[in-house]
């Protein structure tokens, strides 16, 4: 064994030589050869023996050597025996330079004894140091015979060298001799030079407290921005785990090198030589046709507010801080503890509207109610028994599915108290927080909490003013980017679009939607330029490997020291050589480096490899790179497999090199076993009919159609009614006062005039066949004929309907009407609404109740809007709005404020105590229990207006069936993912927009319609669609057509077809996403998944057996 290793190590040195351009056999002048523990090494003349040994993985114990500092020979653990010309001597190897021909022994009984004595001395010096203890254990020392001292400094001098050599200062040095030796500032006087950089601490192996006495200056920790300042960070770092690109950056403001020109220690330590201090900020000019602004919003730091202690109370946190506290990757690993004393809180209070709905920020931040509810629920999950109380004004759970979530929180015991606390104080002794508040009935109350979370609102991002100036765009009064009334992503300047919270505070679904919409607007301008910047890569013809016996090449990466330092890579290489089908194994310093890629290609050719395995990092980041490489060598990219021996091996088993090495061997073995069974795969290519079908001719359908047409695609727009317009035909003005009818007329005209849009009114779809890229839809036309249209995508924009109430005597009394009817009368200035004494508006009719559990989102604003315009006409009219929560989110809050100051009376009612309306005696009598006054209120209005919700279209079910897309329990269409894919269906090629998705405002509908157009265009833009390669397939001989697989498939990709009297499954590769669920479900073993076949996985499992 030993011999084998020797041979191989020799070879490694030779390869090194070859790389540096020195011919084999001849030795370079600056190199010397010696033997260490019987192994010959050729190394640089400037190296010490210790360094030479490290090069060949021979470990010599040391506590005072550091690669980046001069050697000093302080700890004397690195002693070795040197034999030269027959002489033997013992030397500290870290300072002894290599010499030609010497023989070194690193582990003899004599040396072991010396080391034992040395470590015993150190153990007496620093008995508590874990590093010393660990080293002692390694050297077989349990305890020390010497007197233990109350010290923690082992006099290794690393701190001194660090300070002098790297920081360019002389803040510390040694004083005294022998036993009296200790670190001290020069002349025992604190040096003014200390920068409090902390480098001495950082390098001290025992974390010595003595260093703290060297200077009075205290290192100020740099606070980690991602963790909201709850923990510190280093100057050089990857900002957060998901950062793109996932590379380290240097904080130039705090880096010693950038401040003083010294240090550069990272440069020496980075094995990949990736540190580049010369990188400069560059000004780059890019000619573009449009600009999209998505600069986000900033969270208001509520802790700095006077009412909340100006940041002095340690157990008040902002919602962002609390979010990090809850996170498993956060500062406390997901344990809910107080930042002050790390104690688990028993009672947490959340305070809503911090920095929202106040004088400074009059708008509503839209997201805080839901995130506070979420945080409360998660916190309760993390620490059972925790009490969470939310102090709120209105719970604005207006998003899709949000009210349901709010109810769930209430059921799980989250307490909601309707009020804004007047002050918070800290209790000195416990650091608990005392909240004073008036409850809804006006009673003053005092509650004590262990921790307070401030639900902080959003404000325009820093630098918004400069951005706006640079781009030449206008901002609104609140400092957000101003956008146009019926083009919510258009800034005031043509070609500049904006999306996300920089236009108005908004949640993730709306942000993602609006972003896609901005992309669509941009593409409308740039459609002609599409594909003009693409260059196509040429590949050699693919080699045919069918029928060949597997010839596997394995490339094992050291990843500098990342793998090499913990996994014995040579051992893994050796082990791999013995595996079946393996014909070539190579060890690389960095398998992902460019020269390694070249090497892989060479080796594929040289050894006629037909399968390649790379053992290195994770396939999630590097699989595509290596696939590309083997493709360049002519191999099908799927003849590749990876073994993750870094992220999932060396990095998580750093203290167990043996276990890590065994594991790495196994992982490579498993990968090789799978690789031998790999077969070439192809992504199926499907022709795309570059046309769209839009179902529904309301605002959503029309905006989508127009956008797609402007992007150059033909559109079939199908409307069931005899005219376009949908619900918008009944809306006359928006709360901001914009004329909806004028907009609608213009939109209809643009749609009808566009030559790429074929409008079909009085038409309905009757049957849909096909799949993404290739649909055939049968449409029954106004003429009575049915015609088939071919297209590549479908957008569902079938709208919703206003709820027709059967409560409150609606329809039986002309004085009782819906908001929509009222609006029509206001616009028509109908006599019925002239000179009224009083009006009562009842909110949530057909919303947030049995039957319709959701919030219809726009009714509160609708009531405020109509109330304001009524008051404009007749300022004397008394208007009551009976509500449950006023949900005028975002900038709509301004109008709620305006309504209140205009005298509109808002009376809250509970779900259990709905207003009662009687009209028997000729008058309208409304009675409602006012929870503030705690008594019944009687109103006798001239008019009762019902704020009715939106209900799903009756046709939804039929359409959903035809398109094979799902509806939610409320009957609206269900998108693929609420946040990440808000306008997509799981089924590829079908999209949704407008009220068909959920109740919303016109502006939101326009955004969503744009988003659907953008998403649809991602398919229509190419005339080919490439399916996944690792899809499912059916073995016809085994399939009995039971249909289990097709029931499993979330993408409707499997059909049961009957051929020659046999029922069989058929996978549509265009729709299959390759999850493999159907395979796992198939009872007859007929299904399998390419790339993850049953055989492949079973072989991997089998290979764990020794």
């Amino acid at each position: 064994m030993k011999k084998k290793m020797k041979k191989q190590k020799k070879k490694r040195v030779v390869r090194k030589n070859r790389k540096s351009g020195v011919p084999k056999g001849k030795q370079a002048p600056d190199m010397v050869s010696l033997t260490i523990d019987g192994i010959s090494v050729t190394t640089k003349k400037s190296n010490s023996i210790l360094e030479a040994a490290q090069e060949i993985n021979i470990e010599i114990p040391t506590l005072c050597y550091h690669k980046a500092l001069s050697s000093y020979g302080a700890c004397r653990l690195c002693v070795v025996e040197i034999q030269k010309n027959g002489w033997k001597k013992i030397q500290t190897s870290c300072v002894y330079p290599v010499e030609e021909g010497i023989e070194v022994k690193t582990d003899t009984p004599v040396l072991q004894n010396i080391r034992k004595t040395m470590i015993q001395l150190m153990l007496a010096r620093a008995p508590e140091s874990s590093v010393v203890q660990e080293m002692a254990r390694k050297l077989g020392v349990e305890d020390t015979p010497f007197v233990k001292r109350d010290d923690d400094c082992i006099r290794c001098g690393l701190c001194i060298r660090m300070c002098r050599e790297r920081m360019g200062k002389n803040v510390i040095g040694f004083k005294g001799r022998g036993d009296q030796r200790e670190i001290a500032p020069p002349f025992d006087v604190e040096s003014p030079d200390c920068m409090a950089c902390g480098a001495c601490y950082a390098i001290c192996p025992t974390a010595s407290q003595r260093l703290k006495k060297m200077s009075n200056k205290v290192k100020k920790p740099l606070l980690d921005e991602f963790d909201a300042g709850l923990r510190s960070r280093s100057v050089i770092r990857i900002p957060f785990p998901q950062a793109v690109p996932n590379a380290a950056i240097i904080d130039r403001e705090h880096c010693v090198h950038f401040v003083t020109d010294k240090c550069r220690i990272c440069e020496d330590l980075c094995e990949a030589k990736a540190i580049d201090f010369d990188q400069k900020e560059e000004l780059v000019e890019i000619p573009v046709g449009s600009i999209i602004l998505s600069s986000g919003a900033e969270v208001i730091d509520g802790k700095q507010k006077r009412e909340y202690g100006n940041g002095r109370y340690e157990n008040i946190v902002t919602s962002i801080e609390f979010e990090r506290i809850l996170s498993a990757s956060g500062p406390y690993h997901g344990h809910v503890v107080r930042p002050g004393d790390k104690k688990e809180p028993k009672r947490i209070a959340f305070i809503q509207c911090v920095g929202s709905r106040d004088d400074e920020h009059p708008y509503c931040s839209s997201v805080c109610c839901m995130y506070a509810t979420k945080e409360a629920l998660i916190a309760k999950e993390h620490s059972p028994g925790l009490e969470c109380t939310i102090f709120f004004m209105d719970i604005r759970a207006f998003g899709k599915g949000f009210d349901e979530y709010y109810e769930k929180a209430q059921k799980s015991g989250v307490r909601y108290i309707r009020c804004r606390p007047s002050s918070i104080e800290e209790k000195q002794s416990t650091k608990n927080l005392i909240i004073r508040y008036a409850d809804e009935q006006g009673q003053m109350r005092v509650d004590e909490y262990d921790m307070v979370v401030l639900a902080c609102g959003l404000q325009p991002p820093k630098g918004m003013v400069e951005i706006a100036q640079t781009l030449g765009i206008e901002m609104n009064a609140a400092g957000f980017c101003k956008t146009r009334a019926f083009a919510p992503t258009d800034s005031s300047k043509e070609g500049v679009f904006a999306c996300g919270p920089c236009t108005e505070p908004k949640d993730i679904p709306e942000t993602v939607t609006q972003s896609s919409s901005a992309a669509a607007r941009s593409m409308e301008l740039l459609a002609e330029q599409r594909h003009t910047l693409i260059t196509k890569k040429e590949y050699p013809a693919e080699l045919d490997v069918s029928g060949q016996e597997p010839r596997v090449g394995v490339f094992i990466c050291r990843c500098g020291i990342n793998i090499g330092a913990y996994v014995d890579v040579p051992k893994v290489v050796e082990h791999t050589k013995g595996l079946k089908y393996v014909v070539h194994v190579e060890e690389n310093l960095y398998t992902c480096s460019q020269d390694s890629q070249k090497l892989i290609i060479e080796m594929i050719k040289e050894h006629k490899l037909n399968r390649v395995v790379v053992a290195s990092c994770t396939p999630r980041t590097h699989e595509s790179l290596f696939r590309e490489t083997i493709r360049e060598a002519g191999l099908n990219p799927y003849l590749f497999e990876m073994a993750n021996i870094r992220d999932q091996c060396s990095w998580i088993h750093m203290t167990e090199p043996e276990g890590a090495t065994e594991k790495a061997k196994d992982l490579v073995k498993m990968a090789v076993a799978k690789a031998a069974l790999l077969s070439p795969l192809k992504r199926v290519e499907i022709d795309v009919i570059q046309k769209a079908l839009v179902i529904g001719g309301g605002v959503a359908g029309m905006v989508t159609s127009l956008s797609l047409a402007r992007q150059g695609f033909e559109v079939f727009l199908v409307e069931k009614e005899k005219q376009l317009g949908g619900n918008a035909r009944h809306i006359f003005y928006t709360i901001e006062g914009n004329d909806v009818q004028a907009y609608l007329l213009e939109l209809i005209k643009k749609v009808c005039d566009h030559k790429l849009i074929r409008v079909m009114t009085n038409a309905e779809i009757t049957a849909v066949r096909g799949f993404v890229g290739n649909y055939e839809t049968e449409i029954s036309l106004a003429s009575g004929r049915n015609k088939i249209y071919k297209h590549g995508v479908i957008i569902v924009a079938t709208g919703g309907v206003e709820y027709r109430p059967d409560e409150y005597s609606y329809g039986k009394d002309t004085r009782i009407m819906t908001q929509r009817e009222l609006e029509e009368k206001i616009v028509g200035a109908e006599p019925q609404i002239v000179g009224l004494r009083s009006i009562a508006m009842i909110q949530c009719v057909g919303s947030r109740d049995n039957g319709h559990g959701y919030c219809s989102r726009r009714c509160c604003s609708q009531a405020v809007k109509n109330a304001l315009s009524l008051l404009e006409l007749h300022p004397k009219t008394k208007i009551y709005i009976l509500y449950r929560d006023v949900r005028t989110y975002g900038f709509k809050e301004d109008y709620y404020t305006a309504a209140r100051s205009a005298g509109v009376i808002f009376v809250r009612y509970d779900r259990e105590k709905k207003p009662i309306l009687a009209n028997d005696n000729g008058s309208l009598d409304v009675s409602v229990f006012d929870p503030v006054l705690q008594r019944k209120l009687e109103i006798h209005p001239d008019l009762v207006v019902l704020s009715t919700g939106i209900v799903p279209n009756k046709d939804n079910e039929k359409i959903a069936k035809m398109l094979k897309v799902p509806l939610n329990s409320d009957g609206f269409f269900l998108e693929a993912h609420v946040k990440l894919r808000p306008v997509d269906f799981a089924t590829e090629g079908v999209f949704v927009a407008g009220l068909a998705h959920s109740p919303k405002f016109i502006s939101e509908t326009i955004d969503q319609a744009g988003a659907a157009a953008a998403r649809a265009a991602t398919i229509l833009a190419e005339n080919k669609y490439y399916a996944e390669a690792t899809v499912s397939h059916v073995n016809d001989d085994l399939c009995v057509g039971c249909g289990v697989c097709s029931n499993m498939c979330p993408y409707e990709a499997i059909e049961i077809v009957e051929e020659d009297g046999q029922r069989r499954s058929k996978v549509n590769e265009a729709l299959c996403k390759g999850c493999g669920t159907c395979v796992a479900a198939c009872p007859s073993g007929a299904m399998d998944q390419y790339g993850f076949t049953k055989d492949q996985i079973l072989t991997m499992i089998r290979s764990i057996r020794e």
């Binding site: 999630r620 088993h653 764990i1104």
Partner: protein
Amino acid sequence: MENFKPNIIVFCCNWCSYAGADLAGVSRFQIDPNFRVIRTMCSGRIEPEFILSAFENGADGVMITGCHPGDCHYINGNYKTMRRFYFMKVLLREFGVETNRMKLSFISAGEGIEFQRLVNDFIKEIKKLGSAQYRIKE
């Protein structure tokens, strides 16, 4: 028993738990090395046969991991895994393997620490149980 090195297979889905395992690495969270990961695209790919085969071939424990409910990259593969999991338990019992040698866990891409905790706990559990008896006849 002290030195018992169990054979443990951990199935990870590509999108969440495998990424979580990677994050454990990036964050250098230390884990007992006695486990081997097999990656599938979705936890929904795991068939009962894989579990049986694992025990037949000398595994002492099997973990199935995937995205959190609602987060599956393939909409709801993990729900199907949950359903299948109970079936697999029945199967294991029938074959005479203790059902607590198999575990289903949800780990997101951001939960490196959860991966560490769950895997370490499971390995500890299996070490307590000792070597599995069920093994293929050679």
